[in-house]
Symmetry: C2
Subunit: 120 residues, 2 copies
């Protein structure tokens, strides 16, 4: 039922406060699974499930370094999500600007008497 | 199970290509439910369900105008989602910049022979 295109996976991954907090932590640098899990009062399997969702969306990658598996943030899916949101913000703002201009025109018309009346 | 905070509702609403297409259409101006549903090969109940998700997230509002119910895009949740994504993009880019600078320093050090060798 849930969409599986890349942008949908990114937005779905962002739709949870624990996952967003994990991304916030990783945006300050790579960390181990233990370091990522530490601030949360949730079980290890729950964290593991959140990490799977983030990895599936491509937002987080794992690298095995020495004995530790390190988690890192990936920038590319953020760019895609950001581009989508920004495009719609922009289009919507253009529409609001056009509406403002239209209302201003209507206001100017009602302020200025038409030429026939002005000429009398 | 799904998170119900406002930002999570917005991201969850964006996590579907049909819902994003509905928002794209509404970003070009208000429309009726029929106009919104028209391009999609999905049932009326499916569209109605998508609209409920968008309304719950505050991304779309309905106004009854004459006999028609009109759908409009709401800008505010976009701003919140955009701010979150941008903040993380920015933090991540700062980190990448710092990494770049660090690698450059290491490269400069390996390019420049140390003072003892340079003095010989």
């Amino acid at each position: 039922m849930a969409a599986t295109d890349s942008l949908s996976l990114v937005f779905a991954a962002l739709a949870d406060p624990t996952r967003r907090a994990i991304l916030s932590k990783l945006s300050r640098g790579p960390a181990t699974v233990g370091e990522v899990a530490e601030p949360f009062a949730v079980s290890a399997p729950a964290i593991s499930q959140h990490l799977k969702v983030l990895e599936r969306a491509g937002l987080v990658s794992r690298t095995a370094r020495a004995q530790w598996r390190t988690l890192s943030l990936e920038a590319e899916p953020f760019d895609e999500a950001s581009a989508w949101v920004e495009k719609h913000r922009r289009e919507w703002n253009l529409r609001l600007d056009a509406l403002d201009a239209h209302l201003q025109t209507m206001k100017d018309r009602s302020d200025t008497p038409d030429s026939k009346e002005a000429g009398s």
